[in-house]
Amino acid sequence: MSGLLASEFRRFRSRRLVKVLVALEVLVIVATGVIVFLTQEYALVGLPDVLMGTSLVLVSVGWILGASAIGADWHAGHVTTILSWEPRRGRVLIAKIAAALTSVFVVSLVIQALLAIALAVAAAGAGSTTGADAAWLAESAGVALRVAALSTIFAGFGFGLASAGRNTAVALGVGFGYLVIVENLVRGLRPQWTPGLLTDNAGLFVVDSPIDFPLLGRSTIGAGLYLAALGAALLLAATALFRTRDVH
């Protein structure tokens, strides 16, 4: 199993899509740091809000990376090749899930850390670091961890859908359609179903302010656990399908 895991981690980090998306994110961070440094007096105490603002991008990137981690392998026929080396399908999929989700979590944390460093440098040079105390550090770390966790959960959604649909595009299309169309319709037509919506629970989990999400009726941790349970259920279903369906 460790050989399979090592292979999957290397496969994941070697992929061009991963490199391109991470490079783009780093580029945006560097540009943000430079722009902030040159144009305004940045107050570092506002870092948690900035990190919350990255959640949409990081969750989207997580979804894409999770989906393509298995979708691209289906598309190119690599699943057949891998199964001719390790026919225990459960192990193969678990290794792929572990590699994809762990990598997305680490990438999300590193990207936020780089952004924090860039803004800290900008604030130290031409802004203010007032209020950047231990409580601020704990709050910032908490936000960063929650955003990374949310990206990982959404990577799980992407992976599960792409595995079931055997295609990256299926996961992206279904995800976009569900989040943009279905959830908005439900929110408008059936507001009593709001506690089940992904976007509202994700918002609560990142913002950590239950008072702003009165319809959910649950805590920040509760929202995180709800999303994690949905992701786990989807991945379990995908694994069950992967174990039983023919591979062509």
């Binding site: 050989g3 190119a76 026929g77 891998i82 026919p87 023919d246």
Partner: protein, 309 residues
């Protein structure tokens, strides 16, 4: 007989969108003995690839049984380390080098770089080992797939159309490689539709048509089964030759510039002596044996069922 592949009444049917079923393999029986090269022949859609997928546990049979090194598909993980395979076109990462692709596979079974270099050298890709696979020709990709199959130093090699896309020189290389591997005591199970290659390489063959086996056995036996063997004689004066052979009580008839003689190849000396005694000398003498292509077309009806695979 010590068999490495056993298939009994194997059946695989695929459900179509509208509920109808396509039968890819229909009660196939097959036994592949240990060692040597075994040719698995059939037209497109005969069920060759589906059978291989069943053996490797990639698709679930609808009925019957199949065993690879004694293991049914559910337990194939116990023996997969002794089996190298290519199923249809080998899938590799186009932007990775050959070395990197094989290292990724090798890592699953803790196979190191030394072995990767060995197999790349074995298939003639050592000089291009660090180039991206997307720059390879179809034949080079095929050879890389074979290198991947050899990586585990397997005792059983399952190769699905390994000569696809290869140029004549590449086909000869693959043929020699398969022969060498077979002579080393490994079992090479090769599905192909390039019949001349199989005829020159395989020790035994099985021929499939519409998901069923229609012939199996040593190549020579399959070629002679159901075919009268004789001799083909070429000489300058065919009518005179026919007359002389007829006088000697030898069954002979003219056929497209040859004389077809109804004696087994072992009696060739009798024919040459009879003709030479009367001053007629042969320009050519050979066994009148059907080639694999002829047998194949007769047994399969020459029909492809492409799409049912």
């Amino acid at each position: 007989m010590d068999t490495v592949i056993e298939v009994e009444g194997l059946r695989k049917a695929y459900r179509r969108v509208r509920g109808s079923r396509t039968v890819a393999v229909d009660g196939l029986d097959l036994a592949v003995p240990r060692g040597g090269v075994f040719g698995f022949l059939g037209p497109n859609g005969a069920g060759k690839t589906t059978t291989i997928r069943c053996l490797l546990g990639l698709v679930r049979p609808t009925g019957g049984r199949c065993r690879l090194l004694g293991e049914e598909p559910a337990g194939v993980h116990k023996v997969i380390g002794r089996v190298g395979s290519i199923v249809e076109s080998p899938a590799m990462y186009p932007r990775f080098s050959a070395t990197r692709n094989l290292e990724l596979l090798g890592r699953i079974s803790r196979i190191g770089r030394t072995r990767v270099r060995e197999v790349l050298d074995q298939v003639g890709l050592a000089e291009r080992a660090d180039d991206q696979v997307k720059t390879y020709s179809l034949g080079m990709k095929q050879r890389l797939g074979i290198a991947g199959a050899l990586l585990k130093d397997p005792e059983v090699l399952i190769l699905d159309e390994p000569a696809n896309g290869l140029d004549p020189a590449g086909i000869v290389e693959v043929r020699e490689l398969m022969r060498r591997l077979g002579n080393e005591g490994r079992t090479v199970f090769v599905s192909s539709h390039i019949l001349t290659e199989v005829q020159q390489t395989a020790d035994r063959v099985a021929i499939l048509a519409k998901g069923r086996q229609v012939a199996t056995g040593p190549v020579h036996e399959v070629l002679t089964a159901g075919h009268a063997t004789g001799l083909l004689v070429r000489l300058d004066d065919v009518p005179e030759g026919l007359r002389i052979l007829g006088e000697a009580g030898i069954d002979a008839r003219a056929d497209d510039g040859f004389i077809r003689v109804g004696l087994p190849p072992a009696d060739a000396a009798r024919v040459t002596r009879t003709l030479a005694d009367r001053g007629l000398y042969l320009t050519e003498l050979r066994a009148d044996e059907a080639d694999l292509e002829t047998v194949f077309l007769e047994l399969t009806g020459g029909a492809s069922t492409e799409g049912a695979r």
